[in-house]
């Protein structure tokens, strides 16, 4: 499903290499986790895949179901089925959460040549999904993420994911800023979306999120490359011994 080959990326402004040959393949229906120390390039990978400005791809490819992602605008990538759950969801004063979601859902449907969802159907769907994530009517009415707590912001990300039903989800440090209960709520939301041929790439510093979202494959990223891949046990190894041992072992 998501196939990344030999991806090299520079930061545009600093002319500095961040990704130095990433190879990764997430199959349909599988959950892959990427772990790694600060500055290893995990978040850069998520931004490059979703199309944020400021990065230059110097080599390599990234495709979703065989379609070149890197040539597309961010909105085209989203319509093609890619979703990034932001590490820091953006506050947008003046744009109601509900308006935002309805605009996004319908823009994607339009881009895919589907009919727009009626207001009634949309309302019914969002109420149902919001309930599972304990998002109340007030949060739906408020401007996007404005005045939301850290946990509310992350739950709002998962709500968007549930409404947009992407093929491939990237979760960028979704556990950051969450207490245990909030993390469990978010993980339940993600687990409810597992299967159905949907791929996940879960980026995290810590093993604890992976207790709740159990991955099929764990990758360790360091200095812009994936240096080791394995099963869920690899995450436990990191938790016990830190990254230094693995980095030393590979070097």
């Amino acid at each position: 499903m998501l196939e990344i080959k030999n991806l090299h990326v520079d930061l545009e402004e600093e002319d500095k290499a961040i990704l130095k040959g990433v190879d990764l393949c997430v199959e349909a229906g599988k959950v892959h986790a990427i772990m790694g120390p600060n500055g290893s390039g995990k978040s850069t990978l998520s931004y490059v895949l979703s199309g944020k400005d400021g990065y230059e791809v110097t080599a390599g490819t990234a495709t979703l179901d065989g379609v070149d992602l890197l040539e597309m605008e961010p909105e085209e990538r989203a319509a093609a089925g890619l979703f990034l759950a932001f590490q820091y969801p953006v506050e947008i004063p003046g744009v109601g959460n509900m308006t935002f979601l309805r605009t996004a859902v319908n823009a994607q449907r339009k881009a895919r040549g589907q009919e727009e969802m009626s207001a009634t159907d949309f309302l019914k769907l969002i109420r149902e999904k919001a309930k599972d994530l304990k998002i109340d009517a007030d949060m739906l009415k408020r401007p996007v993420n404005v005045g939301f707590s850290g946990g509310e912001k992350k739950r709002n990300e998962i709500l968007q994911m549930a409404m947009l039903e992407p093929k491939m989800c990237i979760l960028d440090e979704t556990d950051s800023g969450l207490d245990v209960d909030a993390m469990k709520l978010v993980a339940d939301g993600v687990n409810a979306l597992r299967g159905q041929g949907r791929g996940f790439l879960v980026i995290t510093h810590y093993q604890r999120l992976l207790d709740h979202i159990v991955p099929d494959v764990v990758h360790i990223m360091s200095d812009g490359r994936i240096i080791k891949s394995g099963g869920p046990e690899l995450a436990l190894e990191v938790e016990q011994n830190g990254y230094a041992d693995i980095i030393a072992e590979v070097a």
Binding site: S50, G51, K52, D53, E73, P74, E75, R77, A78, A79, L84, F86, P89, V90, E91, I92, P93, G94, V95, T99, F100, T103, A104, V105, A107, Q108, A111, P143, V144, Q160, L164
Partner: protein, 429 residues
């Protein structure tokens, strides 16, 4: 100080090109007084400090510029969702055919062109008077010219709570029309009126609204300007407020090669409230200027100015806003914000916020900002599948919404937001 030749000549040339409307005793006196005041102050010149950011040339010159007609038939009727009394002017001339009967409970409405010919009328005590009071400390000669020459307008006397809004609908039919309207609204104690205005009066137009708002009275004013791009516009609102009275005014401006909106408000009774707001959307050779002067001359009054402009493709927005707090106007609460969203590097926002305070127990705050679109918000929207153009427009509306929110009536507010969305959608294509 003698007037410079250039001003004297320009003023004489303009006056020579016009004819004073036929008037009875009271109106004639007011008009002649205005002519002599105008001759001594002179029409605005681009070197005047008050016209530093806006060139007055096209508003001043004897010959009015032409303006192509703009087809707005693809839009729903403005304020169409509101039950209102419609009064139509075509190129600045009252059109009885298209207007409703000028009858509304608690309100009497006369036309200046008729009442002005009589020898006596209640408006005698107001017509040109608030305009004249508004000439200090800064001269507003275009308003004086209007007092002298306005061909038509409405004299509205409100004695109770008007059961529905008055809607002044201006239609532009001739590419060369050059019109002046002068309205006077007198609200008696505890009276209430909502005044709606929409459309361009003419290819070039100059309008004045003088309003006296007595103790406990309320005037709501909501105005739509645009989208007729080529019209040249100068408007003045002069409001004087009594005790516990309230004046709330909102203007939506879209398109327009030249628009100068001046608001002059005097808070003369304790506990009065004045809110003025504007949302403007400019593209290309767009120039829009909000000039506001609010004087606090009583205790515990509240004033609020909220102006927002979205500019692109070389458009220019201007804001000159002043709060003057006279000695003794204690417990004044003054607020002023002007902000521009610049969608590209070619557009500009020129702002001159001013506070002048002579009382020692007041709270006044002001702020002015201009900035580009929030790239993080834009990316967030796009990452959810919202195309670039639509995402920009969503953020544009969000930005303007803070000014639109100043409109209290929900139906009117929704009408304005719908209109903005419609304009943006058409522009996106």
């Amino acid at each position: 100080m003698a007037l410079p030749d250039v001003k004297q000549n320009a003023t004489q040339a303009r006056l020579a090109a016009m004819e004073m409307p036929q008037s009875g005793v009271w109106a004639k006196a007011a008009r002649e007084d205005a002519v002599s005041r105008l001759i001594s102050m002179g029409l605005p010149h681009r070197r005047d400090e008050y016209w530093k950011f806006t060139r007055p040339d096209t508003l001043v010159q004897p010959e009015g510029p032409q303006a192509a007609l703009y087809d707005t038939s693809d839009e729903p009727e403005m304020f169409g969702a509101v039950d209102r009394l419609k009064i139509v002017f075509v190129d600045g001339v009252f059109d009885a055919e298209q207007s409703d009967d000028l009858a509304l409970e608690g309100v009497t409405i006369d036309r200046l062109s008729e009442a002005g010919r009589a020898d006596i009328h209640w408006a005698k005590d107001l017509y040109g008077l608030l305009e004249q009071r508004g000439q200090t400390p800064v001269a507003r000669p275009l308003a004086t010219l209007n007092t002298a020459m306005a061909g038509d307008g409405l004299l509205i006397h409100v004695t109770g709570k008007a059961p529905k809004p008055l809607h002044l609908i201006y239609q532009h039919r001739a590419t060369t029309s050059d019109a002046m309207l002068h309205h006077v609204i007198k609200l008696e104690k505890d009276a209430e009126l909502t005044l709606l205005e929409s459309g361009p009066v003419a290819a070039r137009f100059n309008t004045v609204l003088e309003t006296e708002i007595a103790d406990g009275a309320t005037l709501h004013h909501v105005r739509k300007q645009g989208r007729h791009h080529e019209c040249h516009v100068a408007t003045h609102v002069f409001a004087r407020l009594g005790e516990e009275s309230s004046f709330k005014s909102f203007t939506l401006t879209a398109n327009g090669v030249m628009t100068r909106n001046e608001m002059v408000i005097e808070l003369t009774g304790d506990d009065a409230i004045a809110h003025v707001a504007g949302a403007a959307m400019g593209d290309g050779d767009f120039h829009q200027d909000d000039t506001v002067f609010i004087t606090h001359d009583a205790e515990r009054c509240e004033s609020r100015q909220v102006f927002k402009k979205v500019l692109r493709n070389g458009a220019t927005g201007v804001f000159q806003g002043k709060i003057l707090v006279e000695p003794g106007a204690q417990k004044t609460d003054g607020y002023q914000i002007s902000q521009a969203l610049l969608l590209d590097g070619d557009s500009q926002f020129l702002a001159k916020p001013e506070l002048e305070i002579y009382a020692d127990d007041v709270a006044c705050s002001h702020g002015s900002t201009s900035g580009a679109i929030d790239e993080d918000a834009l990316f967030y929207l796009r990452a959810r599948g919202v195309p670039h153009g639509l995402a920009t427009d969503l953020l544009t509306i969000a930005f303007l919404a803070e000014a639109v929110d100043e409109v209290e009536d929900e139906i009117l507010r929704a009408d304005i937001l719908d209109r903005l969305e419609g304009w943006l959608a058409r522009r996106r294509g």
